[in-house]
């Protein structure tokens, strides 16, 4: 009799598992019928992966792990339903009635999970109950309570019910614990916290100090109105990883070796003297980022702790495939970082990303007893501008430019995220004695006609492009936010000031070195940031280089096939599962870089793809190509600087402009 009962339960379990799996397969197919591109396509456009890369053991392991977890979730879900079925199963009734009761129970579970997904994440494709009664919180609460009661009653039908109750109770407490725990506040310390807060792609011309409405980003604008703001600041390269490596080394990419987001790690020195020194000086060092496709920085760079999704090529595939109610509804529990490391706190999986949750996780990683060095980067402003609750309906501000419209909508969301982040820092006493740098890693090109309005020669290269790091002539890509402020007793204590001059992200580290008297032995390319415009060095020059100026990336809509065909063969996936540039391709890709130098109101750029030298005069709003036979003193002076800095860089100046300049200089005496 007992054996029959066990067999019956097993049969129900297997049958339930089968139905749940069938439902998932149906949802995957349904999703495919709605989306014009495959699960593999969209994300791959940005990570340059193709099917050939699926021979990496690390990538295969990560994807296998994802599918095994997905199967296990279905097993656990089937066990819950099977247990609940015990409470409504009637052994005196006909088989048909019991079968129908079981089916109704399964459907109720499916309705609950889809309804919950629709309420929590309306931008999920599988949230097909969005804006309906079945995603109403009251309906979900009632249905949820009914299903829970059925489960509890179902447990009482087991012989080992005490054991099962204890297990369920312990599991529940374990699940609730991280949600209820409060780490406390930071104790008063003599050494200041150092916070570098980065906002991906934040364009200064969208902030009020550069003329934009305050309401576009009210919190950030208010913070900046109490800060030192360095008006003309540039990123050494408009790419996230490269920019952050420049921040953390105080060096140009050419000096520190980090020339591309996915540069081979063996070519980069991961020993960051600043982190080593801060760790030695009893600082707790944290690096946090909510999107890791374009940034390799992890604990191997010396940080005490890192926060954010796992780094790896599987990110592209998993985040494209994962949109299922059973996964989404679990994702914002802290433990989901273990079972879905590529999805938890991943802003690239925008439909479930919760900005406040990421903030809380970053803040809970800080030390309450030691001073903290926190480098945190927020990526909501990065393509593809997705979020868990879409945007407000503001058709009056629609200008036909999709990316720019979405960018402005996401700017409001990232502003709210920063407001929450700083409020939480203040509440936990992390702003009692802190030095804060607020920066962006690059801008973003949208081909807006009213930004940097330049007179351009007919034969000149295009001064604007889409994206970032793709065109050094596009000032919207290289121009960044650079501001610093001192917090004391939770409030900004520094004097508000707009500081004129020419500055770069490489100036942050020399400033920290000076402020904390660390005496780092590194050779910096940057200089300590001044606190007054009178310290402005008019002779200062800065270098800015491009990443790869890809044609396929220079579009408002990125076509995956074009991107892969243009550069896909230059990338590989290592056995660790990480996508990197092929070392044998690295030098040829370096040679394709655009390089430029800024000084005062001028920029001189050398563009290998068109073999042209371009001089931009910002004072006179003029952009022109410098011909070989032209003797332009300004251009010659800037070219000399460019030649001196990049002279030993692979592929630089293949047409020997530097040599001709030297000869010209010699002939002129």
């Amino acid at each position: 009799m007992k054996s029959n009962s066990n067999n019956s339960s097993l049969r129900i379990l297997l049958r339930t598992f089968g139905v749940l799996l069938l439902f998932t397969v149906m949802l995957v197919n349904y999703r495919s019928s709605i989306l014009p591109y495959s699960a593999f396509s969209i994300a791959n456009a940005m990570t340059h992966l193709d099917f050939e890369h699926f021979n990496s053991i690390g990538l295969i392991k990560d994807i296998m792990y994802f599918f095994i977890i997905l199967l296990l979730l279905h097993v656990v879900w089937a066990m819950l339903i099977t247990t609940s079925f015990n409470s409504v199963k009637d052994s005196n009734s006909s088989d048909l009635k019991n079968e129908l009761t079981w089916l109704l129970l399964v459907l109720s579970h499916l309705t609950f999970v889809v309804g919950l997904n629709s309420y929590l994440y309306p931008t999920s494709i599988t949230a097909y109950f969005r804006n309906s009664f079945y995603s109403n919180p009251m309906f979900l609460l009632i249905l949820g309570v009914v299903l829970l009661v059925l489960f509890i009653i179902g447990v009482t039908h087991y012989r080992a019910k005490n054991f099962i109750f204890t297990t369920v109770l312990a599991s529940t407490l374990l699940l609730v614990y991280p949600l209820a725990v409060n780490k406390g506040t930071q104790t008063s310390l003599s050494k200041p916290n150092i916070l570098i807060v980065g906002v991906d792609g934040l364009r200064p011309d969208h902030l009020s100090y550069a003329g934009a409405p305050v309401t576009d980003a009210p919190f950030i604008n208010n913070l900046l109105s109490n800060s030192y703001v360095y008006r003309n600041s540039y990123s050494p390269q408009g790419r996230t990883y490269v920019a952050w490596m420049s921040i953390l080394t105080g060096q140009y990419p050419k000096t520190n070796g980090a020339r591309f987001n996915l540069a081979p790690p063996e070519l980069i020195n991961k020993n960051l003297p600043i982190i080593e020194s801060l760790n030695y000086n009893d600082y707790h060092t944290v690096y946090a980022m909510d999107e890791r496709r374009f940034n390799q920085i992890d604990r191997t760079y010396g940080f005490s702790s890192t926060i954010g999704p796992k780094i790896g090529a599987a990110d592209a595939f998993i985040s494209s495939f994962a949109d299922l109610p059973i996964i989404n509804t679990l994702l914002n529990h802290p433990y989901s970082g273990f079972i879905f490391p590529y999805l938890h706190n991943n802003r690239a999986y925008g439909k479930t990303y919760q900005p406040k949750l990421f903030n809380n996780e970053v803040i809970s990683s800080l030390s309450t007893t030691k001073p903290n060095f926190l480098a945190v980067h927020f990526c909501q402003l990065h393509w593809p501008y997705t979020s868990n609750d879409f945007i407000d309906n503001e058709s009056s501000s629609w200008d036909g430019n999709y990316s720019h419209f979405m960018y402005k909508a996401m700017l409001k969301k990232v502003d709210q995220q920063l407001a929450h982040f700083f409020a939480e820092l203040k509440e936990k006493n992390y702003l009692e004695n802190s030095i804060v740098y607020l920066i962006s890693d690059h801008g973003e090109g949208f081909k807006l006609s009213d930004s940097f309005n330049l007179e351009v020669d007919d034969n000149a290269p295009a001064p604007q492009s889409w994206g970032h790091g793709t065109n050094i002539l596009d000032q919207a890509q290289a121009n960044v936010l650079l501001a610093r402020m001192q917090f004391a007793n939770g409030e900004v204590s520094s004097d508000p000031k707009i500081i004129e001059g020419l500055f770069s992200l490489i100036d942050i580290l020399p400033t920290i070195n000076k402020q904390l008297k660390l005496n780092l032995v590194s050779q910096f390319d940057g200089y300590p940031l001044p606190t007054d415009s009178t310290d402005f060095n008019a002779e200062r020059h800065l270098f800015v280089e491009s990443s790869l100026p890809l044609k396929a990336m220079n579009a408002s809509f990125i076509d995956e096939k074009k991107v892969v065909s243009e550069v896909g063969s230059s990338y590989t996936v290592r056995s660790s599962g990480k996508a990197v540039m092929k070392p044998q391709e690295y030098l040829s890709l370096v040679s394709r870089k655009q390089r430029s130098v800024y000084q005062a109101n001028h920029q001189l750029a050398l563009l290998p793809e068109s073999d042209s030298l371009v001089l931009v005069d910002f004072a006179n709003k003029d952009l022109k190509v410098i011909n070989d036979d032209e003797n332009n003193l300004r251009a010659n002076k800037l070219l000399t600087m460019l030649c001196q800095f990049y002279k030993d860089d692979y592929g630089f100046d293949e047409t020997n402009r530097c040599l001709r300049l030297n000869e010209k200089g010699g002939n002129n005496g």
Partner: protein, 95 residues
């Protein structure tokens, strides 16, 4: 006795009928929602592979263009993506 037996069978059948109705209703709710979602997509789908409206472009990029207060149709009519080649007079063109 016969009447009693008839009554028991009827209750049992009634229960089965109720269960069947609930199952069919719940299934229909799912199918109706799935169908509505599919038809909404068909209504906004254009021949442009990169999408012609904000809603279509967002959908193509993998997410559903709706919030708890707005739905997909709110982002189609007044949200046409402009093309610089076709609209040379519009300054802030998208492509």
């Amino acid at each position: 006795m016969a009447q009693n037996r008839y009554k028991i069978i009827s209750i049992s059948q009634l229960k089965i009928m109720v269960l069947l109705v609930l199952i069919i209703t719940t299934s229909a709710i799912h199918f109706e929602a799935l169908l509505y979602t599919y038809q909404s997509v068909e209504n906004i789908r254009s021949e442009n592979p990169s999408g012609s409206t904000l809603a279509e472009r967002y959908l193509i990029l993998g997410d559903w263009p709706a919030s708890r207060t707005n739905n997909l149709n709110n982002f189609t009519l007044n949200y046409q993506i402009l093309k610089s080649s076709k609209e040379p007079t519009i300054s802030k063109a998208d492509e």
